[in-house]
Symmetry: C2
Subunit: 201 residues, 2 copies
């Protein structure tokens, strides 16, 4: 019962952001670690023939309302960014570079900062400058990151991560796997907690 | 704070079934009534360009797992019916006829029985005989129902209900409206309870 929790997310997923703000705290309560995996839903949606939530008639409008209400309910700082959804391959690649170079803990700190930049401050993180700013805010060298994140091996690594996620059946964000048990959505934190607490569900 | 809760559902929606098994109890806890509205998601999915959950790659497989787990978590009897999803216009029309003829309370009792026939017993309710059986089980005259549910005015009434639901922005099941506040999904029962308890959310 001490294998790490696997947490898959897209930086453009608001429910992924909510999960990101809570998952380490929840895991720690039950003595678990969390491994963070940035992926790109755009690639995965081609397989599932899905569109971003905001682009679905009726559901898109409701979702804005639900996101604001859900953020209030869970007391998480949140705005709907003016540019949303956005492309997140730069943010994902930057995170992988930080993981490889500075370790998982620093990468997690950076990932939280990136999420907050987008969903608490409303700043578009599809562009490189806000990514570098977030890096500096958590004590990273932004010049090193700017060079590192564009390397071909990082691009390849992200592709492999997404292919692996697809093989695992991952189709959305947040997607959390605990001891082989898959959970999709911030809505499932009640069931996740039950599993962590009781060792089964 | 005493207006009835509006509960929209499709008989082929398992999360709608979960909501149906719990909503009256939750409402009663806070002195509220619930008005039940059977609708047809098939019609609504044309507007939202959505497919039934089970027909979406990856998501369909996960959903089966999630449904069984969610039923266990909430201690609700549940099987995935061999025929699923099914057409539910007959069940919806039958419910409207019972509402018109025998009142809302009897219709609700019948609706719960129909849902249980499908999702607890696994019996296909797209056909008329199981619908008539469910009617008899709750003390209705099945011959009267068989005649009543095929009348043109009932067909028209269902169409109008669905058009009205679309105007309200309803795109899924369960969909619950409380004092103008919309909630989609059994997942939102925590927020629904907060609204009922505090009068705001």
């Amino acid at each position: 019962m001490s294998t790490p929790i696997q947490f898959y997310f897209d930086y453009s997923s608001p429910y992924g952001y909510f999960a990101a703000m809570r998952i380490d705290e929840l895991a720690a309560k039950y003595g678990r670690q969390v491994e963070w995996h940035p992926i790109l839903l755009g690639v995965i949606f081609k397989t599932t023939e899905t569109k971003p939530l905001m682009h679905i008639p009726l559901k898109g409008e409701y979702s804005k309302h639900d996101l604001l209400r859900t953020a209030r309910f869970h007391q998480i700082d949140f705005v709907i960014p003016a540019n949303f959804p956005v492309a997140t391959q730069q943010a994902a690649r930057a995170t992988l570079w930080v993981q490889n170079t500075c370790g998982k803990d620093k990468a997690k700190q950076f990932a939280k900062k990136l999420f907050q930049t987008f969903f608490a401050d409303g700043v578009d993180i599809s562009e490189v400058p806000p990514i570098l700013k977030a890096a500096e805010d958590v004590g990273l060298d932004s010049l090193e990151l700017a060079n590192g994140m564009i390397q071909q091996e990082i691009k390849d690594q992200l592709k492999e991560e997404i292919e692996h996620a697809l093989k695992l059946g991952i189709f959305g964000s947040p997607y959390i796997i605990i001891d082989g048990e898959p959970f999709w959505g911030f809505d499932r934190f009640d069931q996740i907690e039950a599993l962590l607490k009781n060792g089964k569900i």
